[in-house]
């Protein structure tokens, strides 16, 4: 019994919770931008994480390139993919369904669900459905009685720094200001002369880039498969629902909370409970905040 208490109080679990939480924060950040500026739930968001992880994996196993070096390139590719999806699919969806129509949200969800199925199975066709992993920077460092591998420290630092950098960018720059304006009230943003289409394109690029970057970090920490992405989508949804739309700092807190819930919950029960905890938190969050934390005002036509 006392050994369980020792484990709970040791810094080891806290470190694990921080690493998981910072990754969730990074993934949720991108989903938050896309949902905020477009009101579309991108259920394929986690699949961008998966593709980023494969990008870093192949760079490492074929070219011998460190995932940390590959990460910026993977993020850049993610940004391009985001722009392509915005141009090719989202603008088209706006054209068929009409922006602001009630059908749009449901239709966009089905569109992204279809995209998710395509990405997962295309990845399974191209890379086989088997899980694979890479061993990079597994050297162990000690801080007090906490043992940390180099790759986990790197993931925590890079994910945390990126979250803070993006949040600071959005807090201070004109781009950030116009992005928050679109998140809060799209029609009003148009009236004051903000190019909403451009802001949405940038949101997609930034959202996909951060997701791909998170994927590159994930490739160092765990085994990846074509179906790695979906739990990240669910985790990011929980973070957005708890942290609130467009509120990036609250999202950071919610992500750390979720990381702690998962890490300590699994430590207290068993690994079988990981999905139960994740989906339990998801269902509870949605039932407590039926419209998301930000009750959306009925948009006047």
């Amino acid at each position: 019994m006392s050994s369980i208490v020792d484990t709970l109080l040791s810094g080891q679990l806290l470190f694990a919770a921080l690493v998981t939480g910072s990754l969730y924060a990074l993934v949720a950040l991108g989903l938050n931008l896309v949902y905020g500026t477009l009101r579309m739930l991108n259920v394929a968001h986690g699949d961008v994480v998966m593709l980023g992880a494969y990008g870093a994996y192949w760079a490492f196993s074929v070219g011998g390139i460190s995932p940390i070096v590959a990460a910026p390139a993977v993020a850049a590719l993610g940004a391009l993919a985001g722009l392509a999806v915005h141009r090719g699919l989202v603008r088209r969806l706006f054209a068929t369904a009409g922006a602001g129509s009630t059908r749009l949200e449901g239709n966009s969800l089905l569109l992204f669900f279809g995209l998710s199925i395509i990405l997962q199975n295309a990845a399974a066709l191209a890379f086989t459905p088997n899980a694979r992993g890479l061993a990079y920077w597994t050297e162990v460092y000690h801080l007090g009685n906490v043992a940390m591998t180099g790759n986990r420290i790197a993931a925590l630092v890079i994910a945390g720094a990126t979250c803070i950098a993006v949040a600071a960018l959005l807090g201070r720059s004109l781009l950030g200001l116009s992005m928050r304006a679109v998140i809060e009230k799209r029609e009003a943003a148009t009236i004051v002369g903000i190019d909403v289409d451009r802001v949405q394109a940038i949101s997609f690029a930034l959202g996909f880039a951060t997701a791909a970057l998170a994927g590159a970090l994930v490739s160092m920490l765990e085994q990846i498969s074509p179906f790695t992405g979906f739990p990240f989508t669910i985790a990011a949804f929980i973070v957005i629902i708890l942290g609130g739309l467009g509120n990036l700092f609250a999202g950071l807190g919610a992500a750390l909370l979720l990381g702690a819930l998962e890490t300590y919950g699994v430590a207290l029960t068993s690994a079988n409970m990981r999905s139960v905890l994740l989906y339990g938190a998801f269902v509870a969050a949605l039932l407590l905040f039926p419209k998301g934390l930000f009750a959306r005002r009925a948009r006047a036509a």
Binding site: G106, L110, L115, I117, I118, Y279, L286, G292
Partner: protein, 313 residues
């Protein structure tokens, strides 16, 4: 002159085609080989699931991405009560269990709207799946083998009855005052409530009605495989396939599910065994493509062609 299509003969043609199809399916086991009967069984299963899904999601606009939870619960009940309950009782109880589950979660869940409802239903189905998986792992049962399942012919006719019941239910509900109430709340829930539609009660009733038959379908399908794995009967792709079939068909009456089910069923029969991954790619493309290109589905395409034809070129 007029661009309005003439509905009456078309409706009659649909009814005749439907009855002929039903007669063919009813006669199938008397002349076909077991492989063909099993194929027909799968077709009937999808038809029953898709018609049931439409009762909730097409009529009310509340798109459920978690209908597999009812299917899985029904299948699980039959397996757990295997050889201790008589089969007809277990199948009826499976329908009752699914309906009861829908009634219990319905009120809080149906308060959640739009895309949040879609992902919530998905989350609930996954939560139930992983909870049962965790409970099974804790008790040490990973899978079960079922001996003494009834003959394929018996299973086939049970499924035929369920598919017919799901279709008739959608016909009856769609034409009733209740069905018109559901359509009105789909268009504008607040306005419908103001006009006196008992919105909460109607939504809940639609949810419960759309759950019962999938519960029994799951129970009957559990008899088909002698080897039972929890993950399989709660596979989210069952929900997705039913939605894809309904979207493909289009419309909000029984014709859409029939057309969509037939179309996707033929695609899957051709591809599934030879190239399962390619089949999943096509399923995803069908979902995304129809949303982008033809949000009205096959029926929408037919109607717009008919309208163009009637306008006289």
């Amino acid at each position: 002159m007029s661009a309005v299509p003439v509905p009456a003969p078309a409706t009659r043609a649909w009814a005749v085609a439907g009855l002929l199809g039903a007669a063919a399916l009813a006669a199938l086991p008397f002349f076909a080989n077991p492989y063909l009967v099993a194929t027909g069984l799968t077709l009937l299963m999808w038809l029953a699931l898709t018609q049931s899904w439409c009762l909730l999601s097409k009529l009310t606009g509340y798109v459920s991405l978690g209908h597999v939870v009812f299917y899985g619960l029904g299948a699980y009940l039959v397996v757990v009560t295997w050889q201790s309950w008589p089969l007809p009782l277990a199948i009826a109880a499976a329908g009752a269990l699914a309906a009861l589950f829908a009634a219990l979660i319905g009120l809080p869940v149906l308060r959640v709207r739009g895309p949040y409802f879609v992902i919530l239903t998905f989350g609930i189905a996954e939560l139930v799946k992983y909870s049962i998986l965790a409970a099974e792992a804790a008790s040490g049962t990973a899978s079960r083998i079922l001996f003494g399942a009834p003959d394929l012919i018996v299973i086939y006719f049970a499924m035929f009855a369920l598919a017919a019941a799901a279709t008739l239910l959608l016909v009856v509900v769609g034409r009733s005052r209740f069905g018109h109430g559901l359509r009105s709340l789909r268009e504008n829930e607040e306005a419908a409530e103001t006009l006196g539609v008992p919105v909460v009660r109607y939504k809940l009733l639609a949810f419960v009605l759309s759950a019962a038959i999938p519960g029994m379908v799951g129970a009957v399908m559990a008899l088909r495989s002698t080897y039972f794995v929890v993950g399989q009967v709660f596979d989210p792709m069952i929900s997705v396939t039913a939605i894809a079939m309904a979207l493909l068909g289009g419309g909000d009456d029984t014709r859409g599910p029939i057309l969509g089910t037939l179309f996707l069923f033929i695609v899957s029969e051709v591809l599934w065994i030879r190239a399962p991954l390619a089949y999943m790619l096509i399923l995803g493309a069908v979902l995304a493509g129809f949303v982008l290109v033809a949000p009205g589905g096959i029926l929408g395409l037919l109607d717009s062609r008919r309208a163009r034809g009637a306008s006289g070129a």
